[in-house]
């Protein structure tokens, strides 16, 4: 960020900040791109995440010792977090058990795909492309509408859209607002929140990296080169913040999933 304030000094070329184009890496199979099925790094990472999660939890759950090993402890803590603090507290004692597998899968899928952004050499969260976030939020969207219809019948839409205990002139304003907020904005924000935070986090780390490169490699002045240390310190701090945000976003995504399911199961709006 300091690099942005500096004059385009000695080399004659100014600092070029990274753009969103940096997120579109070249295809892994270049010949496949012509057929519209370009397999990028993000896709490989998504597939890899499934393997990692399956491997980790099957290994953690294999030996169920009374005194748990470290691996088993981590697996059970993760399961307990999703089951109790997200499932039981939000959906409620009565029917949360049915949804624990879904919440568990969503939480760890999003978590592993976000944490990729903090691992050196991989350094790319899969959700930095909006497509994967749209699909994930779309599945949840279809799911909670289906749950609502199965629980309440077709009157579910009326239940969601028409708030009870409101004088009728207000309904003219309230019904369109409720339709927009529940059926349009909800899935959009659900997916974009995940995508935008991942993309912004990736770009910030990229910006710090390219700033260091510009100051350290492309400058001749020794004092300007020394200022790259400041950018490095700031960049590491942003990197730590991003690692925190990655975990929080996985939590928030799962929490919102649970809240939407709970809203569909609830008796009164």
């Amino acid at each position: 960020m300091i690099a942005l304030a500096l004059p385009a000094a000695t080399t004659g070329e100014g600092f070029v900040p990274p753009t969103t184009d940096e997120l579109h890496l070249p295809d892994v199979l270049p010949w496949a791109a012509d057929y519209g099925t370009g397999v990028g790094k993000q896709m490989i990472l998504v597939l890899l995440s499934v393997v990692i999660i399956a491997w980790f939890f099957s290994k953690a759950a294999k030996k169920q010792a009374l005194v748990p090993s470290k691996l088993q402890l981590v697996g059970e803590m993760g399961y307990g977090l999703v089951r109790d603090s997200i499932g039981k507290d939000i959906i409620g004692q009565r029917d949360f058990l049915k949804f624990v597998p879904l919440l568990f899968t969503v939480f760890f899928f999003v978590l592993v795909n976000n944490i990729y952004g903090a691992i050196p050499l991989i350094q790319l969260p899969s959700f930095s492309h909006p497509g994967s976030a749209y699909v994930l939020a779309g599945i949840i969207y279809v799911l909670w509408i289906t749950i609502g219809i199965r629980k309440h019948g077709i009157g579910y839409f009326k239940m969601v859209v028409v708030p009870s205990g409101v004088p009728w002139p207000l309904l003219i304003i309230l019904i369109p607002i409720e339709i927009i907020s529940n059926f349009l904005v909800r899935p959009i924000t659900h997916s974009l929140r995940l995508f935008a935070t991942m993309m912004a986090g990736h770009l910030i780390v990229l910006l710090a990296g390219s700033g260091i490169e510009y100051l350290l490699v492309l400058q001749d002045n020794i004092f300007l080169q020394a200022t790259s240390v400041l950018v490095l310190v700031g960049g590491v701090a942003m990197y730590m913040l991003e690692a925190l945000i990655m975990v929080i976003q996985a939590y928030v995504f799962t929490l919102l999933t649970a809240i939407y399911i709970q809203g569909a199961l609830a008796d009164e709006h």
Binding site: I86, D89, L192, I248, V252
Partner: protein, 70 residues
């Protein structure tokens, strides 16, 4: 002095003020609540993150629009 670039960045910076104030208020209330009654933390935590998610939504829409329209 000549300045070039997109006004979107300034627009997004301005719009982020609202989200920042909102998130600050949410966590202010959460921290005060936990400080007064530490055993309420389990109850307050999902509510606080839900509030964070809702206040954040507008700032995120702003960020996406800043990129799309830019």
């Amino acid at each position: 002095m000549e300045i070039s670039g997109s006004l979107n960045a300034i627009g997004y910076g301005l719009s982020a003020i609202g989200g920042a104030i909102g998130v600050g208020l949410v966590f202010y209330a959460y921290i005060t609540g936990v400080a007064r009654q530490p055993e309420a933390q389990r109850v307050l935590q999902p509510i606080a993150f839900l509030g964070l998610a809702f206040t954040e939504a507008l700032a995120i829409l702003g960020l996406v629009l800043a990129f799309i329209l830019g």
